[in-house]
Symmetry: C2
């Protein structure tokens, strides 16, 4: 440590909010260069490489083949799939000296598809799984939490290429098993949740989320094993109700009731029927724009009045289209939209697309806006008085909602995405015409899966799950060193003793960090806690009596052991003996 | 090989001129994505990683510490050193979603300097050597020869930080030794030549050039050990000549003599004195522009008339300024420049800077232009009749020129730059104020060295030096596999035999490529030659008699050996036993 390029900091960095960010900066693992762009100092790079090695070993073990694409990519393949446009401002775009358009790869579906098309042609060539561990770039609107959500980051991405849907399902299953092994080896506490596939297109999709209170992703789970990203929760639709005999819809004058609360209060004060917010139908107007399109289109979203529209769920449901709230100018342009009193009637009459929550089925009767200020309609029946254009998952999901698997109710938790697997299907194979010549000489369209692990993010995720108030607490699999030898004193005897012990430990094949600095024992102990190597050997006054102290960083347990057998003893601990 | 992501090609790629480019594409090591931007397929990535490992081991062995900077860098540090501008069109520049200026790092002096400034402050912290192995970007005007000169490439760059010039000299020497070890281990045939430091600034500088007829760099060497990049050759100045008694300059009418040849012929035809082109002084006019400047300035360059101006040497001498030839408009604007008859007189009279070849010393007498059409001046004496503003290395260097070390004459050869070491000095420390607090509490300005190895380029350079008409011939240190087992036949017995032998070889710790494809022996042998694994085991008809054939890829030598001991035998060969 007297020559290691490491300086620990006593203060948290001003821009850090989450523990991993504070500790990785304070302990000298990473340094900020620009928003979401970090340098790796020696300790950080060692942890990153150890995680990368685990990911590589497991990918190789499943028979995936490693290749590497450039990060600097020409526009054309991304133009073919429309992602040059769809990615919007998240894509770093640039031009070369000749004015050619390039991008920094955010994900490499196009290149993998073209590579397989370039090399393979026969059904005998398939299936194949290719992967790379490579720097990726996304111009995040809000890079945050250090390396947790960066704009330059290291990712493992792999792709499977199969001849059939069954083959894809098998490749998907094998990736899922591999991911379980990777995250288990890394000692992570994680859940696998059903996910939406986002801008990628495709069908089956799951996320691996590391449980963390600072996570950006909210997920829900039920007692029967159901778990899903909130964006992916599907709302069970109740059975339809026969229309016969339902009361007719009636418009009521409901002065000063622009909100659900004021409306419910007014109705309950006025009549014998008892209404709750769940009896009302709230119509939220937004505008959407298809990728590359110039114009926005209006969209009405109907949800039970006791729930808010969750904009992340709404956004995920509408991807890859953009979605935005209406501004005053939009209302001014569309006079039929009577704020606070919008009903299905005016939307239908004016050709506005109208999508509703799956709970709004045929035969359900609602209190909703009558498209006229201070007026609502009661007993407006779905399938009789209005017909939505379809359903949409946009209503908020709440802890306590029934679990979609029919078992118990949902609880909510937070997590950080560490892996994502999904069945892309034929989207990219269609875009590039990726076929294999079948045994009957007829072309077979290839079907693909896409699988990602956030390698650099994992450094932060592990730190997030494994730290205490004194610093980092690395699992042995990824720790920057196996053992940290602290020379607790400045005498030449202690220093020589520490150096000898470090040399013995290295002869055992261990990776040793020796604190040989001319600093006080207090400073050294604090740094050892901060840096977080799992086993600490303290070489102090006891050395004269043939004793050294072992400290387990995670439990804090201290043991005095004989100097003589220290190397073998520590090697045993490191190897789990 | 039946499942390896590898398809060899029978034809050379249309855009390939040099052997390494042709073979690396044909043998399935790399694929082109855009000009100067390549993907690494499995075999290529394996060779790249093995070279990277050698570089890393030797850098670690010299005590350098590995870190990693981002490739995406903010403009500010490069603005501080003016390199944002100086790099010109070679720099990939881009903006983020907020309009912030970024670049893709072509070299990281700024970041290394800032990193050390950020962590270190005391003289006790120094010296330190830091390195990274990282993807770099340069928007080359003419990317060429596949990965030999790419626009995205992998480089090891390191920097030394010392308190004194002596310390820098020692860090430089240690890097030089390390580079010798790296390139020796990689089996390269290379020379170390004196170099100019280019746009980097600084003093002592050497290049490691791999000898290759397809190299872009010309270098010269003398029998006494002198070797230099042509740009770095210094011309020994002859001793000055006393001015006393030299004949006076005389202007002669020399009709129709705009070239050196016509002038020499005219003079020799006219008088009793015998002239050669070496007696004439040729004045070449160019224009230069400082980085970021708007206006060009005229510059006169005087060289002996028997030599051309070498534009690469001239450019290197004038860096970081740009240099360009004059166009007709420039001559029109400067009527005092009489084409073909330009002399030092008009340049001095019109304030044009005038730099001459070092051979043009005080007391030398020249035939040169008289600044008047069809007129030359004879016996124009340097230091008497004209006084240059300085000297410049711009004249061509020729095989047969005296070696600057005084021993024998120079010969010319071509090479590919594989490493560059140079003493940067205090340029970057000055720009960022990188000081250490000395033992007397006074600041000491740090002095730096900069050292680079072109890691991805080395894949091509080794291929360039190690191939034959049939394909690649990898040295064992970097070969993608240790041994290539060819099953020469389609019978189940041969396949089983090949698989068993491959398994035995793997148990010996060897990396084995097994050709288990259903292809003809001819196709398999051709692919084995093309792919270039050093040792080939042919499992063919002899297997029934307990024999297999070993083939050494480099020598072509074939040996029949007993099946029984094949694994031990091959392991012995691979380990050099």
């Amino acid at each position: 440590m007297s020559s290691l390029f490491l300086r620990t900091l006593r203060e948290d960095p001003a821009d850090a909010e989450v523990p991993s960010h504070k500790l990785l900066v304070r302990a000298g693992y990473v340094r900020r260069v620009a928003p979401g762009v970090y340098s790796w100092l020696p300790l950080g790079l060692k942890v990153l490489r150890r995680i990368e090695a685990v990911v590589r070993e497991e990918m190789d073990a499943m028979g995936a083949q490693e290749i590497q694409f450039p990060a600097l990519l020409p526009r054309e393949p991304y133009e073919t799939t429309n992602r040059w446009t769809e990615y919007g401002p998240n894509l770093f775009r640039l031009q070369d000296r000749k004015g050619g358009d390039y991008l920094l790869g955010p994900t490499h579906e196009e290149l993998f598809t073209l590579a397989v098309k370039g090399e393979y042609s026969s059904y005998k060539d398939f299936p194949v799984v290719l992967y790379q561990i490579q720097t990726k770039y996304r111009d995040e609107e809000r890079p945050r939490a250090g390396i947790l959500r960066g704009r330059e980051f290291l990712m493992k991405d792999s792709y499977s290429f199969d001849l059939s849907d069954d083959g894809l399902a098998e490749s998907y299953r094998r990736h899922r098993d591999t991911y379980v092994r990777i995250f288990d080896r890394l000692g992570l506490d994680y859940v696998i949740v059903a996910a939406t596939s986002g801008a990628m297109g495709g069908s089956a999709s799951e996320e691996f989320l590391a449980e963390s209170p600072t996570g950006e992703d909210t997920f829900v789970r039920g007692p029967g094993g159901y778990a899903a990203n909130v964006e992916a929760v599907t709302t069970p639709a109740p059975p339809a109700i026969p229309l016969d005999g339902l009361p007719a819809a009636q418009v009521h004058h409901t002065p000063d009731t622009p909100t659900i609360d004021t409306l419910v209060d007014f109705l309950n004060a006025a009549g014998e029927r008892r209404f709750t917010a769940a009896d009302t139908l709230k119509n939220v107007l937004v505008k959407t724009r298809a990728p590359g399109a110039k114009d926005w289109e209006l969209l009405g979203v109907g949800v039970p009045g006791d729930r808010e529209v969750d904009l992340k769920r709404l956004g995920a449901s509408l991807e890859p289209a953009e979605v935005a709230l209406l501004d005053e100018a939009d209302f001014a342009r569309n006079a039929f939209l009577v704020k606070g009193y919008i009903g299905p009637g005016a939307l239908a009459a004016n050709g506005v697309r109208y999508l509703v929550d799956p709970r709004i089925v045929t035969g359900t009767a609602w209190v909703t806006g009558a498209d006229k200020a201070d007026h609502h309609v009661v007993d407006l029946v779905c399938g009789r008085d209005f017909t939505p254009d379809g359903t949409i998952e946009a209503a908020e999901v709440r802890a306590g909602d029934p679990s979609p698997d029919g078992e118990g109710v949902l609880e909510a938790a937070r997590g950080i995405e560490i892996g994502h697997i999904f069945q892309l299907g034929r989207k990219y194979a269609d875009a590039f015409g990726l076929d294999a010549l079948g045994p009957d000489s007829k072309p077979v369209r290839i079907t693909m899966g896409s699988y990602g692990v956030g390698v650099s993010r994992l450094v932060a995720v592990i730190a997030e799950q494994s730290h205490d108030e004194h610093g980092l607490v690395w699992p042995r699999t990824v720790a920057p060193y196996d053992v940290h030898v602290v020379v607790a004193g400045k005498s030449a005897e202690l220093l020589a003793g520490g150096e000898e012990i470090a040399a013995e430990l290295e002869r055992q094949g261990l990776d040793v960090l020796l604190d040989d600095r001319k600093a006080s024992p207090g400073v050294k102990f604090a740094d050892a806690e901060l840096v977080g190597v799992p086993t600490i050997v303290v070489v102090g006054r006891g050395l004269a009596d043939g004793k050294v102290e072992l400290k387990d960083r995670a439990s804090g347990e201290r043991t005095e052991i004989a100097r003589a057998g220290v190397a073998e003893h520590v090697a045993g601990i490191v190897r789990g003996a």
